[in-house]
């Protein structure tokens, strides 16, 4: 297997946008291509994460339209990947494998999504389509509802009173919003307080408005290259050191939602391939679609012991400058969550961090970074480890 590097990255501002999915993708893609010191025609394959295009724009099969928009030649395969909110990271992992295997030398991977134009009721409906349509959707389960059930289960399992847990969950939102103020591409650019979070309206008990990530529009793109090609293009290649992907069934089959089996499996694969331990990781972009989601993820990734993730937040261990910086970009919570683009935006942040290009939110001396992306009901999990 060959070594694979990221040689260029691009990303639009996240948040409400009037641009189409194709336009947002093309802007992010050209930034990544320009930054890679290649020509558009050098791209040998295009992989894109996109989940809701059929509902938002009436657009299926967006990948060849993106290839055409960029001016790629007719012999460039282009594929759309759908793994709900993990779509972008699923695309990166598959692209990595094809470059590692020697099939391609240069692949453009991106994600694009529009969510805001649907409005809350329809966006809530489409996000819930990642639940089991036979035995969950008819109950009116929503995506916040899933993580609300995780929060209650977590409080019960570890004997942390809900009031205490909710304060610590609010601290996740406060931290990620603070990080977001240092990221010019973030959806939200404003600091919040624990009090503001606890005053928000209830979305799905016990999750209040600011426990939830927003519906966002946006796109991100990266260019993957074989080591040999990467060395010719850049003196700052960021290597993909390990990848992992796991799958799990509907919530009622998973039972203990506080220890997502697919994430445990994916993380084990990624750490194993990279030959590193959780304590070696300097910076993490993980799937904080809800505040409780960050706490649960930080434990299953081995960054904190099970049942201690919320205390770790309270102690500031996941802040920039803490034991391990979690979501310096602002995370899904403040940077925003245009779902197909999210995994690629996580890669964008980690690459920028490892290159030392993150300004005020730079994690000093970061050499090893981890991304964690979740799709559906803790069902698709992708972990990728990047290093310099």
């Amino acid at each position: 297997m060959r070594k694979v590097a990221v040689v260029g990255v691009g990303m639009t501002k996240f948040g409400p946008s009037e641009k189409t999915q194709v336009e947002m993708f093309a802007e992010a893609a050209l930034e990544a291509i320009d930054g890679s010191n290649i020509e558009t025609r050098d791209i040998q394959a295009l992989f894109v994460g996109n989940a809701l295009g059929g509902f938002v724009e009436g657009q299926f099969n967006i990948a060849p339209l993106l290839a055409s928009e960029l001016g790629l030649s007719a012999d460039t395969p282009s594929n759309r990947f759908e793994g709900a909110c993990a779509s972008g990271s699923v695309a990166i992992r598959d692209a990595f494998m094809l470059v590692a295997a020697g099939y391609h030398d240069l692949v453009l991977v991106g994600g694009t999504e529009r969510c805001t134009v649907m409005g809350t009721p329809m966006a809530t409906r489409t996000f819930a389509m990642a639940s089991d349509s036979r035995y969950e959707e008819f109950n009116g389960i929503t995506f916040p509802g899933v993580f609300a059930m995780v929060a209650h289960l977590y409080s019960q399992k570890y004997g942390i009173p809900l009031k205490k847990l909710k304060e610590r969950m609010a601290m996740v939102a406060v931290k990620n919003h603070k990080n977001g103020t240092m990221n010019p591409l973030a959806h939200f650019q404003k600091e919040i307080t624990v009090e503001t979070v606890l005053k928000g309206f209830m979305v799905a008990d016990p999750l209040q408005l600011l426990d939830c990530c927003p519906f966002s529009d946006g796109a991100a793109a990266i260019v993957l290259a074989s080591e040999e090609v990467a060395k010719k293009l850049t003196d700052k290649p960021v290597y993909i050191r390990g990848v992992g992907q796991g799958s799990a069934g509907p919530l009622y089959r998973q039972k203990d939602l506080t220890v997502p089996a697919a994430r445990v499996a994916a993380a084990k694969q990624a750490y194993g391939m990279a030959g590193v331990k959780p304590s070696d990781i300097d910076v993490v972009e993980l799937h904080d679609c809800f505040t409780i989601a960050e706490i649960v993820a930080s434990e299953a990734l081995g960054l904190f012991e099970y049942g201690t993730g919320s205390e770790a937040v309270e102690r500031g261990e996941s802040q920039i400058g803490g034991r391990v910086a979690i979501n310096p970009s602002g995370g899904l919570k403040a940077k925003g969550h245009p779902i197909g683009a999210t995994g690629v935006a996580q890669a964008y942040e980690i690459v920028k961090q490892l290159r030392g290009e993150c300004g005020a939110r730079q994690v000093k001396g970061a050499k090893l970074g981890l991304t964690d992306t979740l799709g559906g009901d803790l069902a698709t999990m992708v972990n990728i480890i990047y290093g310099i």
Binding site: M202, D205, Y252
Partner: protein
Amino acid sequence: MAYPLTHRQYYEGLKAGKLLGLKCGKCGAITAPPKINCLQCNGADLEVVELSGQAEIKTFTVVRVPPEGMTAPYVVALAELAEGPWLMGNLEVADPGAVTMDIIGRKVTVGHKVVPADLYSAGEGVAVTFSICGSPPPSGREAVKKMIC
């Protein structure tokens, strides 16, 4: 290989007041809702059995921001059947907005409700409901088992 119990047969069972499941001839585990093989051992020697309909609430939420086509608030819960599997269902209570974590651990009985079709549902659906043991279900709903818990 054919399904021993299809999605359609399972929900027709619920509509007839029966909670059906599959008993594995190899490991003895109960699978519900149905699947093509055993959830424990992947074995395919499965017998259709009627389950007790008794369960215990493990976790829940009160949905206050509903998807298109639904009216909030309502309670979504996961409950563990006496036979082992977990089911998702709607807790049938007079005041869904007032449900708190005290509900975790409460015994419930499984019922059902028919959900009309929408554009994306491939026809009508049948959703599991939970009624708290010792308190009658709200009018218009019928528990599968008459408060035998």
